[in-house]
Subunit: 340 residues, 2 copies
């Protein structure tokens, strides 16, 4: 059965486009407390996996050994916009572990934040792997390899101990013994698992009391770092940052390519995973905003409310339609999950 | 019932994202010869409507009065990339009708062709309404108003005679008496109709023998102009241009925002309309390429074959998945419609 329509885009009096998808919400006890659509088919969380991919960085002791703080940990979990606040910190971190941009396996791509990208064009500067939105994650991988004193070359391969440590952490948190994998945009492996299973893993990060002490401590530090630095996790004006700020420290959010979104709610011990079938970021952003609103977390921030219900503008700035949560999502009863 | 999956995107061994949609193919006699999904729900063709929006320009005699050739007619049907080949021709055309960019109701937006956009950034030049991808269509509207010697101001409003002429032509070609409308990105009205009805209208442009002589002549000129100038209808490296060139003059193609594609096949007297439910251009491009291939029109051009089956690359340029037509589309029996 096809997944339900979660988000719709109108123009005039008609619905012009729709985004279908699935949502899983779990608690830290491993219970699936909400499901909409197919939450059992394995799917890649893409960059929404980053908080888990960063666990070995902290658990291994590498973060402490290199004196990393919340800013670096936020960057390890980031899909950043390549702004100076990101690139200068990643460059300094690379230097601290005795590496350079040439050790990064991720390729270069245009910087996402327009003013910075335009400035680079004017200056004739090409992007480097440090500008790659995943450069913090990769620097985290390199840090673990350095700390373990093993080869950094090949750290992005599936069979490298760093990636195997990521897979082990994900298996243990999610309860999934089988993790099909593919190569992510940044060259690192990405592991597929059902939305329900990833929601369970995220819930354990939200409330890590049942985890072994080193992992619980790592989870707490990473979630705290994400919540403390929304713009380092994403960038200026990005949905992740706007929504995290609107939640006032009550939730950590992480977008993933192809319409994924992950959310960690410490106060309620909830993990949320959603995927838009067609891969549209606009659909995932409005869907997660609707869930946050239903959970009483979103607040009144104007920019966040405009992700929840976004005006569709023409090139003269006139409103000609809107993007909004569809009935299958708004009427799904998510309100009942609010923390008591 | 939801529309079928037309296109799928893989990563590793898994299907990561899918695009659902509907397809209608009609012949010039008004017969729906192929339908997949819901082809009866009214939907905006967006820029795929442009060949119809350009009919009054020719039928009214305005094109002849202003000495417009195939290049201007191709631009009237275009969603262009704002390259110099487009903007210099639109600017000269505006001058020929005694108008300037200030008469254009469409707003400015960044130029789509990266090398030109980067050059504009380096030179500190802002885009004007002439760079708007719809500036040819708008200059066509202005030309009709000039030719009729009526007010050009407000030409983009639904009740202006130019827009009413567009609506009349669309009603007559499609057989739809009711045309709900919304405001397009460029500020002009866009008229919604079922895919089946728009396919019928396109088929009449493909084989206009049953139309009144002035409209038949206008249809032939516009289709010929589009086929003669694929890059003026779109831009360097754009799917419309690549696919039209690959068809070797046997089909006219026009993309529309939110996942629409229109195709006119004169040799077979066919009109094709498709819409991807979620609005993704990548889905519409692969779906129309698959249809063209099934109809024996696509040929062996490498760039066109890579729209039909597109590699998904990571930031190091390695193939990590593919975008391809899904079984509901490849097994639909479109081959049987090939011109005998």
């Amino acid at each position: 059965m096809p997944n339900p329509i979660l988000v719709e885009i109108t123009r005039g009096d008609l619905v012009e486009s729709v985004h279908r998808g699935a949502i899983a919400i779990a608690d830290a006890g491993g219970k699936l407390v909400f499901a909409l659509g197919d939450v059992e088919r394995p799917i890649y969380p893409r960059s929404s996996l980053k908080p888990v991919q960063a666990l070995p960085l902290v658990e291994s002791g590498a973060a402490d050994a290199f004196g990393l703080g919340d800013e670096e940990l936020a960057l390890a979990c980031a899909s950043h916009s390549g702004e100076p606040m990101h690139t200068t910190r990643v460059a300094a971190w690379l230097e601290r572990i005795g590496c350079t941009q040439h050790d990064l396996a991720c390729g270069a791509h245009p910087v996402r934040y327009e003013p910075v990208w335009e400035e680079m064009i004017r200056a004739g500067r090409a992007p480097t792997p440090i500008h790659n939105n995943c450069s913090g994650k990769h620097t985290g991988f390199l840090s673990v390899a350095r700390h373990w004193d093993i080869a950094t070359k090949g750290y992005e391969h599936h069979d490298h101990p760093v990636q195997q440590a990521v897979a082990k952490a994900l298996r243990e948190l999610s309860g999934e013994s089988e993790l099909p994998w593919g190569v992510d945009g940044c060259t690192a492996p990405n592991f597929a698992l059902p939305l329900a299973a990833f929601a369970r893993a995220l819930a354990k990060l939200a409330d890590p009391r049942s985890l072994p002490a080193p992992r619980a401590s790592a989870a707490r530090r990473l979630v705290r770092a994400m919540i403390a630095h929304p713009e380092l996790v994403s960038g200026t004006g990005r949905a992740c940052a706007i929504l995290m700020r609107a939640c006032g420290g009550r939730a950590a959010l992480k977008t993933g390519a192809e319409g994924y979104f992950a959310c960690i709610v410490p106060e309620a011990g909830l993990g949320i995973a959603l995927k838009i079938d067609d891969g549209a970021a606009r659909g995932a952003e409005t869907a997660i905003a609707a869930i946050l609103d239903k959970l009483g977390l979103l607040g009144r921030d104007k920019a966040a409310r405009e992700i929840l219900c976004a005006p569709v503008l023409n090139t003269r700035g006139r409103v000609v339609g809107e993007r909004r949560a569809a009935p299958a999502l708004t009427d799904a009863g998510i309100e009942t999950l609010r923390a008591q």
